[in-house]
């Protein structure tokens, strides 16, 4: 795999809203749903929920520590909406262009 930090934004986009397993330095492994990848630092924002209706845990793996990213499960439109809602402040709304 090409080094994670060298990927282009469109390639990072392919991982968004999917469930992935991230292998990081020092043999750490993390899984979760990808909310976004910071195009500056290549950090991956992962969201996990312990049980339905429970609080969401956000984990950010810093880009320089990422060794490998493996897709475990494809996302759906429902997943995309859920992830968007997690980070949208109450009362916020999307304005059309």
């Amino acid at each position: 795999m090409v080094e994670w930090r060298q990927l282009k934004p469109l390639e990072w986009c392919k991982y968004v809203n999917k469930k992935v397993k991230v292998t990081a330095q020092e043999k750490h492994q993390y899984d979760g749903w990808v909310f976004t990848v910071d195009p500056v630092s290549a950090s991956i924002v992962l969201v996990t929920v312990q049980e339905k209706g429970g609080t969401a845990t956000v984990r950010v793996v810093t880009g320089h520590a990422v060794l490998e990213v493996e897709v475990l499960q494809e996302g759906s439109e429902e997943t995309a909406c859920w992830l968007r809602d997690v980070f949208t402040p109450p009362g916020g709304r999307i304005l059309s262009p």
Binding site: P9, W12, Q25, D38, V40
Partner: protein, 104 residues
């Protein structure tokens, strides 16, 4: 910024060059801005929350997240709980961090 280029020279990648397709460049820029917006929203959600930082050598520290600089090179945190005591205010170098996590 020059500081970012000096410290992390290769982390911003883009399809540059005279042969680049302008349509593809536009798509790439759209993708970059959408990804960055999401990341900034995540940072906003993290502000003033207790955050755990997993660093190298299996060191784990807790702190209240304050802010990050634009290049994501340093984090400003408060009440940093370290093995040798609590530091009221601190800057963490992001290059020393593998993972940071918090609950929403």
């Amino acid at each position: 910024s020059p500081r970012f280029l000096a410290l992390c020279p290769t982390s911003i990648s883009s399809s540059t060059g005279s042969g680049s397709d302008p349509v593809q460049m536009g798509e790439e820029q759209c993708a970059r801005s959408a990804l960055r917006e999401g990341f900034l929203r995540a940072l906003v959600a993290m502000t003033n929350k207790p955050v755990q930082f997993d660093m190298y050598e299996r060191v784990k520290v807790h702190a209240t997240f304050g802010s990050s600089d634009i290049d994501v090179l340093n984090f400003q945190v408060s009440d940093l709980h370290t093995p040798i005591g609590v530091q009221k205010e601190a800057l963490l170098r992001c290059q020393d961090v593998i993972l940071y996590s918090f609950d929403l």
